[in-house]
């Protein structure tokens, strides 16, 4: 099986972000999407710490740690961008004003349940941040993750075994093998990468897929 690289996955997600969209990119893999947004589209990036119109990282030496993203890394503000407080920022999210949110995940269920905040390990210190707000807030929630765990198990499951972030909140899944839509009939295959046969994709995926 030939898998997409992380950059190729980011490129594929970026292609589906339309002109004029307000988008939140989660910490980790989704952050890479920012580097691949088509230059001819105006897309506004939201960062939940209180920033709309987020630009790229500043040049070395120009960092201002009063201007950071949700990952606490220094960023820049694009012309027309705005700052606001936390209640306004989460109103944008919870109130359904963001068009798309892209999140990483440990597991996604066939009905669009998401687990991405906590492994549930007894010695782990839990930290949730904005994960639960992001999961349920945007009009469409995209998940971007490797199809399989490091040990080869499907991250797409019948029921999440990790603690849930949100119920039925995921609309589309981008993996390094395929793009899947969450529908009322189950997971529909939108695209399979690198000519992988449907049967092969089905074999490594933990739940039934349909074409």
């Amino acid at each position: 099986m030939q898998r997409l690289s992380r950059e190729q996955m980011a490129m594929r997600v970026a292609r589906d972000i339309p002109e004029g969209a307000y988008v939140n990119l989660g910490i980790g893999l989704p952050t890479l999407v920012a580097n691949h947004l088509p230059k001819d589209r105006e897309v506004f990036l939201h960062s939940e710490n209180g920033l709309l119109g987020m630009g790229p990282a500043p040049a070395p030496g120009d960092e201002d740690y009063d201007l950071i993203n949700a990952g606490k890394q220094p960023v820049t503000l694009l012309p027309g961008g705005a700052y606001f407080h936390h209640a306004d920022s989460f109103a944008m999210m919870r109130g359904g004003h963001l068009d798309i949110c892209v999140l990483g995940a440990f597991q996604v269920s066939t009905t669009g349940d998401l687990a991405n905040w906590h492994t549930g390990a007894p010695d782990a210190i839990p930290a949730v941040g904005g994960a639960m707000d992001l999961a349920i807030g945007a009009r469409r929630t995209f998940v971007m993750m490797e199809h399989l765990t490091r040990t080869g198990e499907s991250k797409i499951v019948e029921r999440c075994t990790y603690p849930l972030t949100g119920i039925g909140c995921v609309s589309r899944i981008y993996t390094d093998l395929a793009v899947l839509d969450v529908t009322t009939r189950g997971l529909k295959v939108v695209e399979i990468f690198n000519d992988l046969p449907f049967g092969e994709l089905q074999k490594v995926t933990g739940v039934p897929l349909f074409d």
Binding site: Y65, D66, K72, Y83, H86, A87, D123, V128, M132
Partner: protein
């Protein structure tokens, strides 16, 4: 004449009682009122409940306050970070209580307290372990969780500029929790880098109107440092 300016951070925090719930602004290092936290440490109040997005970075500011052992409980959304070793140690030793709250619920619970709201239904967290034991209701075909306001005795926030009336403006994303925490406490203390005459701040641009601020104190301008993330090598 109203004059909310305190002569020093010590004077501004002179009467924080033991057992107080203290909101502290900031998201990582941005907006964290380091001088006010240091003054709270020196003032010595104990058995505190702290409300902040995080649980301290490195060994300074909120982390230094936790290290004193005077914090009984922390209400926050994201305690675990690469540089949260002080909190991590206290938590694993069972020396601090943690109430973990989704970030947007944290913000809205603070806002609700300041706005006189007795509770609210939010979709965030429904069906998750962070909503366990809380009331739920179906509204318009969607499930919601009942959340309660978080009130504080004291809020410590960092702003950029203020006047004697307590009007405040902030700097960039250091604004974060400042404006909502200012509304939710019996005593709101703001640190600012500049105090200007009343009337000089553009009324169209005042972010926190002075009615929400009880004391402000000028502190020297310092450059905010990195916190809470792993820097690329």
């Amino acid at each position: 004449m109203i004059d909310k300016v305190s002569a020093s951070v010590e004077a501004a925090l002179r009467d924080v009682p033991d057992g107080a719930t203290v909101m502290i602004g900031g998201f990582g290092g941005a907006g964290q009122p380091a001088e006010l936290i240091d003054a709270l440490i020196a003032q010595g109040a104990r058995d505190l409940t702290i409300v902040n997005n995080n649980a301290g970075n490195g060994e300074v500011g909120l982390a230094a306050l936790l290290k004193t052992g005077r914090v009984r409980k922390i209400i926050c959304s994201f305690p675990r970070q690469v540089d949260s070793q002080i909190f991590d140690g206290l938590f694993r030793a069972g020396k601090i209580e943690l109430e973990l709250v989704p970030q947007g619920n944290l913000a809205e619970r603070i806002r609700a307290a300041g706005a006189g709201i007795g509770g609210f239904f939010t979709p965030t967290g429904y069906g998750t372990e962070l909503a366990k034991g809380k009331g739920t209701r179906e509204i318009g075909g969607r499930m919601y969780v009942l959340e309660s306001p978080i009130h504080a005795d004291v809020a410590l926030i960092k702003a950029e500029k203020g006047d004697r009336l307590g009007n405040l403006v902030y700097r960039k994303t250091a604004r974060n929790f400042g404006p909502i925490m200012a509304t939710a406490a019996k005593l709101t203390v703001a640190s600012v880098h500049e105090i200007v005459p009343a009337g000089e701040l553009d009324p169209e641009n005042i972010v926190t109107p002075g009615i929400f601020v009880h004391r402000l104190v000028k502190v020297p301008r310092t450059v905010t440092g990195p916190a809470g993330f792993r820097q690329a090598a």
